[in-house]
Amino acid sequence: MATQETEIRELMKRREYGAGFVTAIESETVPPGLSEDVIRLISAKKGEPEWLLEFRLKAYRRWLKMTAPQWAHVQYPPIDFQAISYYSQPKSHKAGPKSLDEVDPKLLETYKKLGIPLREQEMLAGVAVDVVFDSVSVATTFKKKLAEAGVIFCPISEAVQEHPELVRKYLGSVVPFGDNYYAALNTAVFTDGSFVFIPRGVRCPMELSTYFRINERNTGQFERTLIIAEEGSQVSYLEGCTAPQRDENQLHAAVVELVALDDAQIKYSTVQNWYPGDEQGRGGIYNFVTKRGDCRGARSKISWTQVETGSAITWKYPSCILRGDDSVGEFYSVALTNNRQQADTGTKMIHVGKNTRSTIVSKGISAGQGQQSYRGLVRVLETAANARNYTQCDSLLIGDRCGAHTFPYTEVRNPTAQLEHEATTSKIGEDQLYYCRARGISEEEAVSMIVNGFCKEVFKELPMEFAVEAGKLLAVSLEGAVG
């Protein structure tokens, strides 16, 4: 029986990272280092208005006084922020392409390899895609069709130019510039990201999607996403992330802000497959992300779904502030850590309004020497009469050298609140594998079947086509796990 465990370990080791290639494209990259001058340079390159530059500088000055958070259950050497380049764009990308025909063919090829064929996508899938390559957005599809519905979907740098009043009103209104160390850094240096605005009463006619790609060496990616759903509107948004295989660590520190007004619904899904580093833990992305949704309006709803399989270190807590009465927050998460990956992820549900409800379902899979922590906070304020929360966090362990940890914080100040938290830990049982094999199913397929079964409650929250993708991603991550 010990042999089976060894085999599972072997299998986990051999996982392949399919998105690890580098695109040979000439880039214009600002030399490494961070200073007020670099921030002025980024701002100038983007032709930003004065208020935005001031916003950046304010954040930078705050950041200088802050220290990196130590509380997460992850270990890594201190990051040298002066060794990172804060801006990189493909040279071919000058004023910004007006249509896909103007996009560098090498870029199109890159996305095709990643399974995001921009042209075909436009033809077939009915998904509008914004593509961010290193620091800049290189293509956004379906703009016209969306515009007809009144939906704005564009790079945030473009939104700053075209819709400054909206950006100024909402940027930093959910995640304040000094919220935390990495959010402050992002605010100072963010380069691009997506901007979504769904006007009152509009149900966005298609899925919106952004693919993030880090290509250049020694660059950090600091994207900023802002989604605003006005009264009664609805939108479903998905982001995907990949990066080349490199020996050094790269920093990704994004900020995502969601605002849902009365009766609005935002569904935000992430399939995160940044390069995880190799077996020995060399290389890989540091994924330090602040994501927060503000259910500002009554009966609004924000739902986070994430499938996290990549990154050397993940540090993210997509959260909901349930301010509006009867608002709803959801967090569905699958996180896989293998080899030397570490993840400290979870959510915060802050109940402010009356009759607010939240659901948390977290599924953690640890294999190899992966370390995984669920960290969640459910806070019910005095004002949140009849608040409800249900939390379930389950861990699945593969092999005896990994770790699975749970840190659920519950803070309740209202006697009408009802909270329930359940957690279980299990391993893939040898008897389960034997049972499947006795039915003719290979061990590898059995592992994948059991893991997918374990994640089912989360996958069903993903948009259909991405659920399939997520299942495949897990299967790939487990490929060769048993021999």
Partner: protein, 404 residues
């Protein structure tokens, strides 16, 4: 740090012999250096005692007080008032002693306790020995005229296959005060300890207690803790399952009185395979009180076949009360069964309505339901005298006799 701590230490250590004084001096210096933990420390996130540093406490004089129901029938007693052994009421005075603190201090509080330790229970059982009667250790503190502090350290060492039942009752009687109580437990293979810890600290008082237990192979620790005071109480329960097949079952009930703040930090470390741990905590949190419960189970590498469960349930009964619960798991082995659950809610309105429809008035119905909720924990108390005393202290209706 106020100068009062230094003054109190000088006065206290002046009475000691040279060697003891030097040892304690080192501990005191460690305390002076480390101070009290602050709310920025994760473990003290919900309980802020940093204000203690500025307070001026002195060691109180001996006093005499009515011990009421704490002198449990059927037990041997070891009674302390204001930290002094009360020989007249102690039937087991021979078990009193002072043992030099061993090892480094975990934090400033432990150092403070070691510096001022006035002694306590020193229970050592030889292999195969069984303590004939439960031992009732009472630490009572009279209302002092000036802010006072009491520090005690107890030790229980059970030899192979020996057995004992020990009750620790802490009763504070009002006034400004700081007390630290530390219990160190070592169980040899096969030893069994039943431990009860009752805290009834009055408003104005602060009790910081620590129970450290190390369990060797196949030994068992069963513990029931009850908090029913109105002061600030912080309890750290650190259990290490060091030998294969060791078992720890910890049950706790907290119902702080108005103004009370109770913080239980219970940690079980599975350091060996085939160990079992259970934690069951229930809280009734009413007007102007705050209850904190941090359960933590750590499964170290190699501790396969760990079987652990944490269950935390809270009833939050007032808009001016707060519950903070944090059931943590840290797992570094794969063949383990670790479940945990935590709930916060209110009294079941349907059940309340049902009882009232049977003619029971609302107050009585509520009390019965609360007693039933607390019963999960209280039922684990094997000493009838203690169970009855706590039932009354917690304001529950008396238990019905089983025979009509």
């Amino acid at each position: 740090m106020s100068a009062a701590y230094q003054q109190a230490f000088e006065r206290f250590s002046g009475t000691l012999d040279r060697g003891d004084r030097d040892r304690r001096q080192a501990r005191f210096e460690r305390f002076a250096g480390a101070g009290f933990p602050g709310p920025h420390e994760e473990r003290w996130r919900y309980t802020d005692i940093s204000g203690l540093a500025a307070r001026e406490f002195a060691l109180p004089a001996a006093a005499d007080i009515d011990l009421g129901e704490t002198l449990l029938a059927g037990c041997d007693h070891l009674v302390y008032v204001n930290g002094y052994l009360d020989r007249t009421r102690s039937t087991a005075a021979a078990l009193h002693g002072v043992a030099a603190a061993e090892g480094p201090d975990d934090d400033g509080i432990a150092a403070l306790n070691a510096a001022f330790d006035g002694g306590g229970l020193q229970l050592r059982l030889a292999s195969g020995e069984t303590l004939p009667r439960p031992l009732n250790v009472v630490a009572a503190i009279a209302a002092p005229s000036a802010p006072g502090m009491v520090h005690q350290r107890h030790r229980i060492e059970l030899g192979e296959n020996s057995q004992a039942t020990v009750v620790f009752q802490f009763a504070g009687r009002g006034g400004e005060r700081l007390a630290t109580q530390r219990v160190e437990i070592r169980l040899a293979p096969g030893a069994r300890l039943m431990l009860y810890r009752v805290e009834d600290e009055a408003a104005g008082g602060t009790l910081l207690s620590t129970i450290q237990a190390s369990l060797a192979r196949a030994s068992t620790l069963r513990a029931v803790t009850v908090d029913c005071g109105g002061g600030l109480a912080r309890h750290d329960f650190n259990i290490a399952l060091d030998g294969a097949g060791a078992e720890a079952a910890l049950a706790g009930l907290y119902r702080p009185q108005a103004g009370g703040h109770v913080d239980n930090h219970a940690q079980v470390v599975h350091a060996a395979p085939h160990c079992r741990s259970r934690m069951l905590f229930r809280g009734i949190v009413d007007a102007r009180t705050r209850a904190v419960l941090n359960g933590r189970v750590v499964v170290q590498p190699g501790a396969q076949k760990t079987d652990s469960e944490q269950r935390i349930a809270n009833l939050l009964l007032s808009p001016r009360a707060e519950v903070d619960a944090k059931p943590e798991l840290e797992i570094y082995a794969d063949d383990v069964k670790c479940a945990h659950g935590a709930t916060v809610g209110r009294i079941d309105e349907t059940a309340l309505g049902y009882l009232r429809s049977r003619g029971i008035d609302a107050g009585q119905a509520r009390a019965l339901l609360l007693r039933a909720f607390a019963g999960e924990v209280l039922a684990r108390i094997g000493l009838p005298a203690l169970r009855a005393a706590l039932n009354a202290r917690l304001g529950f209706p008396a238990e019905e006799p089983i025979e009509p």
